[in-house]
Protein backbone atom coordinates (compact mmCIF):
# COMPACT_ATOMS: atom_id res chain seq x y z
CA UNK A 1 0.00 0.00 0.00
CA UNK A 2 1.29 3.45 -0.90
CA UNK A 3 1.46 6.01 1.90
CA UNK A 4 0.83 9.69 1.25
CA UNK A 5 3.69 11.77 2.71
CA UNK A 6 4.59 15.49 2.93
CA UNK A 7 6.73 16.75 0.06
CA UNK A 8 10.38 15.94 -0.29
CA UNK A 9 13.00 18.62 -0.98
CA UNK A 10 13.95 18.08 -4.62
CA UNK A 11 16.55 19.68 -6.91
CA UNK A 12 20.15 19.04 -7.94
CA UNK A 13 21.79 16.28 -5.85
CA UNK A 14 18.56 15.68 -3.89
CA UNK A 15 17.01 14.17 -7.06
CA UNK A 16 19.93 11.75 -7.32
CA UNK A 17 19.41 10.54 -3.75
CA UNK A 18 15.72 9.85 -4.36
CA UNK A 19 16.38 8.23 -7.76
CA UNK A 20 18.60 5.64 -6.09
CA UNK A 21 15.97 5.11 -3.39
CA UNK A 22 13.45 4.38 -6.10
CA UNK A 23 15.77 1.61 -7.31
CA UNK A 24 15.78 0.24 -3.74
CA UNK A 25 19.31 1.50 -3.16
CA UNK A 26 20.36 3.65 -0.20
CA UNK A 27 23.31 5.67 -1.49
CA UNK A 28 24.95 8.78 -0.08
CA UNK A 29 27.66 11.02 -1.52
CA UNK A 30 31.17 9.91 -0.62
CA UNK A 31 33.96 12.37 -1.38
CA UNK A 32 36.41 11.05 -4.00
CA UNK A 33 39.27 12.94 -2.35
CA UNK A 34 38.83 12.50 1.41
CA UNK A 35 36.13 9.77 1.62
CA UNK A 36 33.83 11.73 3.94
CA UNK A 37 30.20 10.64 3.63
CA UNK A 38 27.75 13.55 3.28
CA UNK A 39 24.14 13.95 4.29
CA UNK A 40 21.98 15.76 3.23
CA UNK A 41 23.12 16.02 -0.40
CA UNK A 42 25.62 18.83 -0.95
CA UNK A 43 27.39 20.51 -3.88
CA UNK A 44 30.77 20.46 -2.09
CA UNK A 45 32.59 18.32 0.46
CA UNK A 46 32.60 20.17 3.79
CA UNK A 47 35.92 18.55 4.71
CA UNK A 48 38.12 19.25 1.67
CA UNK A 49 35.95 21.40 -0.67
CA UNK A 50 36.10 18.85 -3.49
CA UNK A 51 33.04 18.63 -5.74
CA UNK A 52 33.77 15.10 -6.91
CA UNK A 53 31.60 12.48 -5.23
CA UNK A 54 30.66 8.87 -5.77
CA UNK A 55 27.12 7.92 -4.80
CA UNK A 56 28.08 5.02 -2.57
CA UNK A 57 25.78 2.28 -1.23
CA UNK A 58 25.38 2.38 2.57
CA UNK A 59 25.24 -0.87 4.52
CA UNK A 60 21.79 -0.07 5.92
CA UNK A 61 23.03 -0.94 9.42
CA UNK A 62 22.42 1.72 12.03
CA UNK A 63 21.69 2.32 15.71
CA UNK A 64 19.12 4.46 17.48
CA UNK A 65 20.45 7.83 18.67
CA UNK A 66 17.28 9.54 19.90
CA UNK A 67 13.57 9.89 19.10
CA UNK A 68 10.30 11.69 19.74
CA UNK A 69 6.59 11.10 19.27
CA UNK A 70 4.33 13.82 17.89
CA UNK A 71 1.11 13.87 19.91
CA UNK A 72 -0.45 16.72 17.95
CA UNK A 73 -0.74 16.87 14.16
CA UNK A 74 1.87 18.85 12.23
CA UNK A 75 1.02 17.34 8.83
CA UNK A 76 -2.31 16.05 7.58
CA UNK A 77 -0.46 13.03 6.15
CA UNK A 78 1.06 12.11 9.54
CA UNK A 79 -1.61 11.63 12.21
CA UNK A 80 -0.56 11.43 15.88
CA UNK A 81 0.85 9.60 17.64
CA UNK A 82 3.59 9.87 15.02
CA UNK A 83 7.00 8.46 15.83
CA UNK A 84 10.30 9.71 14.46
CA UNK A 85 13.71 8.26 15.12
CA UNK A 86 17.19 9.66 14.52
CA UNK A 87 19.55 6.83 13.65
CA UNK A 88 23.32 6.78 13.39
CA UNK A 89 24.38 5.06 10.19
CA UNK A 90 27.29 2.63 10.38
CA UNK A 91 29.12 4.98 7.96
CA UNK A 92 28.77 7.96 10.33
CA UNK A 93 25.91 10.29 9.36
CA UNK A 94 22.87 10.80 11.57
CA UNK A 95 19.72 10.11 9.55
CA UNK A 96 16.19 11.25 10.45
CA UNK A 97 13.63 8.54 9.79
CA UNK A 98 10.63 6.60 11.05
CA UNK A 99 10.51 3.25 12.85
CA UNK A 100 8.89 0.44 10.85
CA UNK A 101 7.15 -2.37 12.73
CA UNK A 102 8.17 -1.24 16.23
CA UNK A 103 7.64 1.60 18.70
CA UNK A 104 10.56 3.77 19.74
CA UNK A 105 9.27 4.40 23.28
CA UNK A 106 11.58 2.89 25.90
CA UNK A 107 14.33 1.96 23.43
CA UNK A 108 17.89 2.68 24.62
CA UNK A 109 20.46 4.59 22.59
CA UNK A 110 22.47 2.12 20.54
CA UNK A 111 19.57 -0.22 19.70
CA UNK A 112 20.52 -1.83 16.35
CA UNK A 113 18.20 -1.17 13.41
CA UNK A 114 18.31 -1.92 9.69
CA UNK A 115 17.13 -0.16 6.56
CA UNK A 116 13.80 -0.81 4.86
CA UNK A 117 11.92 1.05 2.14
CA UNK A 118 8.34 2.22 2.31
CA UNK A 119 6.26 2.84 -0.83
CA UNK A 120 5.15 6.47 -0.62
CA UNK A 121 3.78 9.28 -2.73
CA UNK A 122 3.97 13.08 -2.60
CA UNK A 123 3.09 15.90 -5.02
CA UNK A 124 6.04 14.94 -7.24
CA UNK A 125 4.81 11.33 -7.56
CA UNK A 126 5.56 7.89 -6.10
CA UNK A 127 8.84 7.32 -4.27
CA UNK A 128 10.52 4.92 -1.88
CA UNK A 129 11.21 6.30 1.61
CA UNK A 130 14.11 4.97 3.72
CA UNK A 131 12.86 3.87 7.15
CA UNK A 132 14.32 1.57 9.82
CA UNK A 133 13.17 -1.66 11.47
CA UNK A 134 14.65 -3.55 14.40
CA UNK A 135 17.72 -5.50 13.34
Amino acid sequence: MTERRPNRTLGPDHDTFWSYCNLGEFRLQKCNTCAKVQWPPTPMCNECLSDQFTWTPMSGRATINTYCTFERPYYKECPPPWEAVLVELEEGPLFMSNPKGFSVEGRPRGTPVKLAFLDCEDDAGPFKLPVFELA
Binding site: R5, P6, T66, C68, Y74, Y75, L94, M96, D122
Partner: protein
Protein backbone atom coordinates in the same frame (compact mmCIF):
# COMPACT_ATOMS: atom_id res chain seq x y z
CA UNK B 1 41.74 31.41 14.43
CA UNK B 2 39.17 32.84 16.77
CA UNK B 3 38.75 35.93 18.86
CA UNK B 4 41.44 38.35 20.04
CA UNK B 5 40.97 38.55 23.79
CA UNK B 6 43.23 41.58 24.26
CA UNK B 7 41.07 43.59 21.87
CA UNK B 8 37.83 42.29 23.32
CA UNK B 9 38.99 43.28 26.80
CA UNK B 10 39.48 46.83 25.53
CA UNK B 11 35.77 47.19 24.73
CA UNK B 12 34.53 45.42 27.88
CA UNK B 13 32.41 47.83 29.97
CA UNK B 14 32.83 50.63 27.39
CA UNK B 15 29.25 50.55 26.04
CA UNK B 16 26.12 50.81 28.14
CA UNK B 17 22.44 50.02 27.82
CA UNK B 18 20.69 53.29 28.68
CA UNK B 19 17.11 52.68 27.62
CA UNK B 20 14.69 49.75 27.42
CA UNK B 21 11.10 49.61 26.29
CA UNK B 22 8.53 46.89 25.84
CA UNK B 23 4.86 46.67 24.91
CA UNK B 24 1.84 45.62 26.95
CA UNK B 25 2.17 41.87 26.45
CA UNK B 26 -0.42 40.81 29.00
CA UNK B 27 -3.05 43.42 28.12
CA UNK B 28 -2.63 42.85 24.36
CA UNK B 29 -2.87 39.07 24.75
CA UNK B 30 -6.02 39.34 26.84
CA UNK B 31 -7.79 41.80 24.54
CA UNK B 32 -6.97 39.63 21.52
CA UNK B 33 -8.33 36.59 23.34
CA UNK B 34 -11.57 38.34 24.25
CA UNK B 35 -12.00 39.65 20.69
CA UNK B 36 -11.52 36.16 19.26
CA UNK B 37 -13.96 34.72 21.79
CA UNK B 38 -16.56 37.29 20.72
CA UNK B 39 -15.89 36.44 17.08
CA UNK B 40 -14.63 39.96 16.41
CA UNK B 41 -11.63 41.27 14.60
CA UNK B 42 -9.14 42.67 17.01
CA UNK B 43 -9.67 46.37 16.40
CA UNK B 44 -6.92 48.78 17.32
CA UNK B 45 -4.31 46.04 17.58
CA UNK B 46 -0.80 46.89 16.45
CA UNK B 47 1.05 45.11 13.68
CA UNK B 48 4.76 44.26 13.94
CA UNK B 49 5.77 47.81 12.94
CA UNK B 50 3.38 49.43 15.39
CA UNK B 51 4.70 47.25 18.19
CA UNK B 52 8.31 48.05 17.22
CA UNK B 53 7.59 51.79 17.12
CA UNK B 54 5.81 51.81 20.48
CA UNK B 55 8.67 49.91 22.13
CA UNK B 56 11.16 52.35 20.63
CA UNK B 57 9.29 55.42 21.91
CA UNK B 58 9.19 53.91 25.40
CA UNK B 59 12.91 53.01 25.33
CA UNK B 60 13.78 56.52 24.17
CA UNK B 61 11.74 58.01 26.98
CA UNK B 62 13.39 55.62 29.45
CA UNK B 63 16.84 56.76 28.32
CA UNK B 64 16.16 60.50 28.42
CA UNK B 65 17.75 60.81 24.97
CA UNK B 66 16.22 62.59 21.97
CA UNK B 67 15.32 60.92 18.71
CA UNK B 68 18.11 62.93 17.03
CA UNK B 69 20.68 61.20 19.26
CA UNK B 70 20.02 57.81 17.60
CA UNK B 71 22.48 57.22 14.75
CA UNK B 72 22.41 53.43 14.51
CA UNK B 73 19.41 51.12 14.17
CA UNK B 74 19.27 47.33 14.13
CA UNK B 75 15.95 45.54 13.76
CA UNK B 76 14.71 42.04 14.57
CA UNK B 77 11.57 40.04 13.95
CA UNK B 78 9.49 40.25 10.76
CA UNK B 79 10.17 43.95 10.18
CA UNK B 80 12.32 45.55 7.48
CA UNK B 81 15.06 47.98 8.51
CA UNK B 82 14.13 50.64 5.98
CA UNK B 83 10.48 50.80 6.97
CA UNK B 84 11.29 50.97 10.69
CA UNK B 85 13.65 53.89 10.04
CA UNK B 86 11.02 55.56 7.86
CA UNK B 87 8.31 55.19 10.50
CA UNK B 88 10.60 56.60 13.21
CA UNK B 89 11.99 59.37 10.98
CA UNK B 90 15.63 58.42 11.48
CA UNK B 91 18.41 58.10 8.86
CA UNK B 92 21.03 56.06 10.72
CA UNK B 93 24.68 55.85 9.69
CA UNK B 94 24.88 52.23 10.90
CA UNK B 95 22.35 49.43 10.59
CA UNK B 96 21.59 45.71 10.64
CA UNK B 97 18.49 43.61 10.38
CA UNK B 98 16.96 40.24 10.95
CA UNK B 99 18.44 38.59 13.99
CA UNK B 100 17.96 37.86 17.63
CA UNK B 101 18.87 40.35 20.35
CA UNK B 102 21.80 38.26 21.55
CA UNK B 103 23.28 38.37 18.05
CA UNK B 104 22.59 42.05 17.36
CA UNK B 105 23.58 43.50 20.72
CA UNK B 106 27.27 42.48 20.60
CA UNK B 107 27.45 43.84 17.05
CA UNK B 108 26.00 47.15 18.22
CA UNK B 109 28.61 47.25 21.00
CA UNK B 110 31.36 46.70 18.42
CA UNK B 111 29.96 49.42 16.15
CA UNK B 112 29.81 51.94 18.99
CA UNK B 113 33.22 50.98 20.38
CA UNK B 114 34.79 51.35 16.94
CA UNK B 115 33.31 54.79 16.41
CA UNK B 116 31.10 53.81 13.47
CA UNK B 117 28.19 55.37 15.36
CA UNK B 118 27.52 56.63 18.87
CA UNK B 119 24.04 55.54 19.92
CA UNK B 120 22.20 52.46 18.66
CA UNK B 121 18.56 51.48 19.01
CA UNK B 122 17.90 47.74 18.72
CA UNK B 123 14.25 47.36 17.78
CA UNK B 124 12.02 44.29 17.56
CA UNK B 125 8.37 43.97 16.64
CA UNK B 126 6.49 40.73 16.08
CA UNK B 127 2.71 40.36 15.75
CA UNK B 128 3.25 36.62 15.43
CA UNK B 129 0.05 35.51 17.15
CA UNK B 130 -2.17 37.87 15.14
CA UNK B 131 -0.40 36.78 11.96
CA UNK B 132 -0.97 33.11 12.78
CA UNK B 133 2.75 32.27 12.65
CA UNK B 134 3.21 28.52 13.01
CA UNK B 135 6.52 26.95 13.95
CA UNK B 136 6.48 23.60 12.18
CA UNK B 137 4.57 21.73 9.48
CA UNK B 138 4.60 21.42 5.72
CA UNK B 139 4.58 25.17 5.02
CA UNK B 140 8.08 25.62 6.46
CA UNK B 141 10.52 26.08 3.58
CA UNK B 142 14.09 26.84 2.56
CA UNK B 143 14.08 30.33 4.07
CA UNK B 144 14.62 28.47 7.36
CA UNK B 145 17.49 26.27 8.61
CA UNK B 146 17.58 23.03 6.63
CA UNK B 147 16.59 20.81 9.57
CA UNK B 148 13.34 22.78 9.84
CA UNK B 149 12.03 21.51 6.48
CA UNK B 150 14.24 18.77 5.05
CA UNK B 151 12.58 15.98 7.04
CA UNK B 152 9.01 16.71 5.91
CA UNK B 153 8.68 13.28 4.20
CA UNK B 154 9.32 11.60 7.55
CA UNK B 155 6.71 13.80 9.24
CA UNK B 156 9.34 15.56 11.36
CA UNK B 157 9.49 19.31 11.87
CA UNK B 158 9.14 22.14 14.40
CA UNK B 159 11.65 23.70 16.76
CA UNK B 160 9.88 21.77 19.52
CA UNK B 161 10.82 18.46 17.91
CA UNK B 162 14.49 19.48 18.03
CA UNK B 163 14.17 19.93 21.80
CA UNK B 164 12.01 16.85 22.31
CA UNK B 165 14.75 14.74 20.71
CA UNK B 166 17.40 16.64 22.66
CA UNK B 167 15.68 16.02 25.99
CA UNK B 168 15.19 12.38 25.01
CA UNK B 169 18.94 12.23 24.31
CA UNK B 170 19.58 13.75 27.76
CA UNK B 171 17.32 11.10 29.27
CA UNK B 172 19.02 8.28 27.39
CA UNK B 173 22.49 9.57 28.35
CA UNK B 174 21.89 10.59 31.97
CA UNK B 175 18.62 9.04 33.12
CA UNK B 176 16.95 12.42 33.72
CA UNK B 177 13.18 12.46 34.20
CA UNK B 178 10.19 14.44 33.00
CA UNK B 179 9.32 15.27 36.63
CA UNK B 180 12.74 16.91 37.07
CA UNK B 181 12.25 18.91 33.88
CA UNK B 182 8.91 20.17 35.19
CA UNK B 183 10.78 22.31 37.72
CA UNK B 184 11.87 24.63 34.90
CA UNK B 185 8.39 25.62 33.72
CA UNK B 186 6.95 25.69 37.23
CA UNK B 187 9.71 27.97 38.56
CA UNK B 188 9.59 30.34 35.61
CA UNK B 189 5.80 30.55 35.96
CA UNK B 190 6.24 31.42 39.63
CA UNK B 191 8.47 34.31 38.56
CA UNK B 192 5.93 35.46 35.96
CA UNK B 193 3.33 35.72 38.73
CA UNK B 194 5.45 38.58 40.13
CA UNK B 195 5.36 40.41 36.79
CA UNK B 196 2.14 42.24 35.89
CA UNK B 197 3.17 42.34 32.24
CA UNK B 198 3.61 38.56 31.95
CA UNK B 199 1.09 36.85 29.68
CA UNK B 200 0.80 33.64 31.77
CA UNK B 201 0.32 34.06 35.50
CA UNK B 202 -1.64 30.96 36.56
CA UNK B 203 0.45 28.75 38.87
CA UNK B 204 1.52 25.32 37.58
CA UNK B 205 1.41 22.58 40.22
CA UNK B 206 3.41 19.36 40.02
CA UNK B 207 0.19 17.56 39.12
CA UNK B 208 -0.66 20.13 36.45
CA UNK B 209 2.71 19.53 34.86
CA UNK B 210 2.77 15.76 35.20
CA UNK B 211 -0.75 15.40 33.77
CA UNK B 212 -0.33 17.93 30.97
CA UNK B 213 -0.73 16.82 27.38
CA UNK B 214 2.29 16.03 25.28
CA UNK B 215 3.08 18.01 22.14
CA UNK B 216 6.19 16.18 20.94
CA UNK B 217 6.81 13.51 23.55
CA UNK B 218 8.70 13.71 25.93
CA UNK B 219 7.85 17.45 25.96
CA UNK B 220 4.53 18.67 27.32
CA UNK B 221 2.65 21.85 26.58
CA UNK B 222 4.25 23.60 29.58
CA UNK B 223 7.68 22.90 28.13
CA UNK B 224 6.78 25.07 25.13
CA UNK B 225 6.93 28.86 25.08
CA UNK B 226 4.04 31.13 24.24
CA UNK B 227 3.24 32.60 20.87
CA UNK B 228 2.15 36.20 21.47
CA UNK B 229 2.48 39.68 19.97
CA UNK B 230 4.92 42.25 21.23
CA UNK B 231 7.75 44.67 20.69
CA UNK B 232 11.01 45.48 22.47
CA UNK B 233 13.60 48.22 22.08
CA UNK B 234 17.02 48.61 23.66
CA UNK B 235 19.22 51.71 23.41
CA UNK B 236 23.00 51.58 23.77
CA UNK B 237 25.60 54.30 23.81
CA UNK B 238 29.13 54.98 25.02
CA UNK B 239 29.88 54.79 28.71
CA UNK B 240 30.68 58.53 28.64
CA UNK B 241 27.36 59.52 27.06
CA UNK B 242 25.53 57.13 29.39
CA UNK B 243 26.54 59.22 32.37
CA UNK B 244 24.14 61.95 31.21
CA UNK B 245 21.19 59.59 30.65
CA UNK B 246 18.11 59.31 32.84
CA UNK B 247 18.77 55.94 34.50
CA UNK B 248 21.83 54.15 35.93
CA UNK B 249 23.85 52.63 33.07
CA UNK B 250 24.11 48.89 32.58
CA UNK B 251 27.47 48.04 31.03
CA UNK B 252 28.06 45.31 28.49
CA UNK B 253 31.00 43.49 30.05
CA UNK B 254 31.34 40.55 27.71
CA UNK B 255 29.90 38.44 24.98
CA UNK B 256 30.71 35.16 23.31
CA UNK B 257 29.71 33.29 20.22
CA UNK B 258 30.58 29.77 19.17
CA UNK B 259 28.93 27.76 16.45
CA UNK B 260 28.30 24.21 15.37
CA UNK B 261 26.92 24.98 11.93
CA UNK B 262 28.75 21.99 10.44
CA UNK B 263 26.49 18.98 10.86
CA UNK B 264 23.57 21.16 11.99
CA UNK B 265 21.06 19.52 9.62
CA UNK B 266 22.01 16.09 10.94
CA UNK B 267 21.66 17.51 14.49
CA UNK B 268 25.13 16.14 15.30
CA UNK B 269 26.41 18.44 18.07
CA UNK B 270 22.89 18.80 19.38
CA UNK B 271 22.39 15.05 19.92
CA UNK B 272 25.90 13.66 20.45
CA UNK B 273 27.09 16.45 22.74
CA UNK B 274 23.93 18.39 23.74
CA UNK B 275 25.87 21.45 22.47
CA UNK B 276 28.09 21.34 25.55
CA UNK B 277 31.27 22.11 23.59
CA UNK B 278 29.92 25.21 21.84
CA UNK B 279 28.24 26.42 25.00
CA UNK B 280 31.52 26.12 26.86
CA UNK B 281 33.39 27.95 24.09
CA UNK B 282 30.84 30.76 24.04
CA UNK B 283 30.91 31.01 27.83
CA UNK B 284 34.71 30.93 27.99
CA UNK B 285 34.88 33.91 25.62
CA UNK B 286 32.19 35.84 27.49
CA UNK B 287 33.70 35.20 30.94
CA UNK B 288 37.23 36.02 29.76
CA UNK B 289 36.15 39.26 28.10
CA UNK B 290 34.25 40.28 31.23
CA UNK B 291 36.99 39.12 33.59
CA UNK B 292 34.47 37.02 35.50
CA UNK B 293 33.64 33.40 36.31
CA UNK B 294 30.37 31.57 37.01
CA UNK B 295 30.81 32.57 40.67
CA UNK B 296 30.41 36.25 39.76
CA UNK B 297 26.98 35.76 38.14
CA UNK B 298 24.18 37.06 40.36
CA UNK B 299 21.33 36.78 37.84
CA UNK B 300 21.10 34.28 35.00
CA UNK B 301 18.81 34.05 32.03
CA UNK B 302 18.53 31.64 29.19
CA UNK B 303 16.65 31.65 25.94
CA UNK B 304 13.67 29.51 26.91
CA UNK B 305 11.64 28.69 23.84
CA UNK B 306 11.63 25.27 25.53
CA UNK B 307 12.26 24.34 29.13
CA UNK B 308 15.11 22.07 28.01
CA UNK B 309 17.30 25.11 27.24
CA UNK B 310 17.87 25.87 30.91
CA UNK B 311 19.47 22.65 32.23
CA UNK B 312 21.51 22.24 29.04
CA UNK B 313 22.83 25.81 29.28
CA UNK B 314 23.66 25.51 32.98
CA UNK B 315 25.66 22.41 32.13
CA UNK B 316 27.35 23.90 29.07
CA UNK B 317 28.30 27.20 30.67
CA UNK B 318 29.85 25.40 33.61
CA UNK B 319 27.39 26.09 36.45
CA UNK B 320 27.22 22.32 36.92
CA UNK B 321 28.60 19.21 35.24
CA UNK B 322 27.17 17.67 32.06
CA UNK B 323 24.12 15.60 32.98
CA UNK B 324 23.58 17.36 36.31
CA UNK B 325 21.52 20.34 35.09
CA UNK B 326 18.20 18.89 36.19
CA UNK B 327 19.47 18.03 39.66
CA UNK B 328 21.04 21.48 39.94
CA UNK B 329 17.75 23.35 39.42
CA UNK B 330 15.79 21.53 42.15
CA UNK B 331 15.01 22.80 45.66
CA UNK B 332 14.64 26.48 44.84
CA UNK B 333 18.16 27.08 43.60
CA UNK B 334 16.98 28.99 40.49
CA UNK B 335 14.18 30.87 42.23
CA UNK B 336 14.28 34.52 43.22
CA UNK B 337 16.03 34.34 46.58
CA UNK B 338 17.89 31.19 45.53
CA UNK B 339 21.55 30.77 44.69
CA UNK B 340 21.15 31.57 40.97
CA UNK B 341 17.83 33.25 40.12
CA UNK B 342 16.93 32.41 36.52
CA UNK B 343 14.51 33.97 34.01
CA UNK B 344 13.02 36.21 36.65
CA UNK B 345 10.48 38.01 34.41
CA UNK B 346 8.91 34.73 33.31
CA UNK B 347 11.04 34.42 30.18
CA UNK B 348 9.51 33.21 26.95
CA UNK B 349 7.77 30.32 28.70
CA UNK B 350 5.51 32.67 30.70
CA UNK B 351 6.20 36.39 30.15
CA UNK B 352 6.40 36.87 26.40
CA UNK B 353 7.89 35.08 23.40
CA UNK B 354 10.13 37.91 22.27
CA UNK B 355 12.86 35.61 20.92
CA UNK B 356 15.55 36.67 23.43
CA UNK B 357 14.60 40.37 23.44
CA UNK B 358 12.55 40.42 26.65
CA UNK B 359 15.42 38.80 28.58
CA UNK B 360 17.71 41.75 27.80
CA UNK B 361 15.08 44.15 29.17
CA UNK B 362 14.79 42.08 32.33
CA UNK B 363 18.58 42.02 32.80
CA UNK B 364 18.62 45.82 32.64
CA UNK B 365 15.72 46.23 35.05
CA UNK B 366 17.29 43.82 37.53
CA UNK B 367 20.66 45.59 37.40
CA UNK B 368 19.02 49.00 37.80
CA UNK B 369 17.21 47.50 40.82
CA UNK B 370 13.85 48.51 39.41
CA UNK B 371 12.30 45.03 39.07
CA UNK B 372 9.82 45.60 41.90
CA UNK B 373 8.35 42.47 43.50
CA UNK B 374 10.68 40.21 41.57
CA UNK B 375 13.88 42.15 42.29
CA UNK B 376 16.88 39.94 42.95
CA UNK B 377 18.59 41.37 45.98
CA UNK B 378 22.13 42.48 45.27
CA UNK B 379 21.92 41.90 41.52
CA UNK B 380 25.24 43.23 40.23
CA UNK B 381 25.83 41.08 37.15
CA UNK B 382 23.52 39.33 34.75
CA UNK B 383 24.36 36.66 32.19
CA UNK B 384 22.22 35.71 29.25
CA UNK B 385 22.78 32.73 27.04
CA UNK B 386 21.18 31.13 24.10
CA UNK B 387 21.71 28.05 22.04
CA UNK B 388 19.76 27.76 18.87
CA UNK B 389 20.11 26.17 15.48
CA UNK B 390 23.83 25.62 15.28
CA UNK B 391 25.30 27.96 17.83
CA UNK B 392 25.70 29.35 21.32
CA UNK B 393 25.57 33.03 22.21
CA UNK B 394 26.17 34.74 25.53
CA UNK B 395 26.19 38.24 27.00
CA UNK B 396 27.37 39.51 30.39
CA UNK B 397 26.02 42.72 31.87
CA UNK B 398 27.27 44.63 34.89
CA UNK B 399 25.57 47.30 36.97
CA UNK B 400 27.39 50.48 36.02
CA UNK B 401 27.27 52.48 39.22
Amino acid sequence: MGYDLARLRQISDQVAVVGVGDTDYAKDYESARLARQAGQDETGALDSYGLAALAFRRALQDSGLKKEDIDGIAVGGPVVHQRVCEILGINPVWGLEGAQADVLLPQAVQAIASGACTTVALIYGNAQRSMGTRYGGGHVGPDQPTSYYYYHPWGWSSQGAHYAMMFKAHQLMYGSTEEQLGTVSRTIRKHAMLNDNAVMKTPISEDDYNNARYIARPLKIYDYCLVNDGGVAIILTTKERAAACAKPPVLVSGFGRATAEVGATQLRDRMFDLYHAVLKASGDECFAMAGMTTKDVTHFQTYDAFSVHLPINLEGFGFCKPGEGLEYIQNGRIEIGGELPCNTSGGMLSESYMQSWNHQVEAVRQLRHEAGRRQVEGAETSMFCHHGSGGAFSIMYRRGV
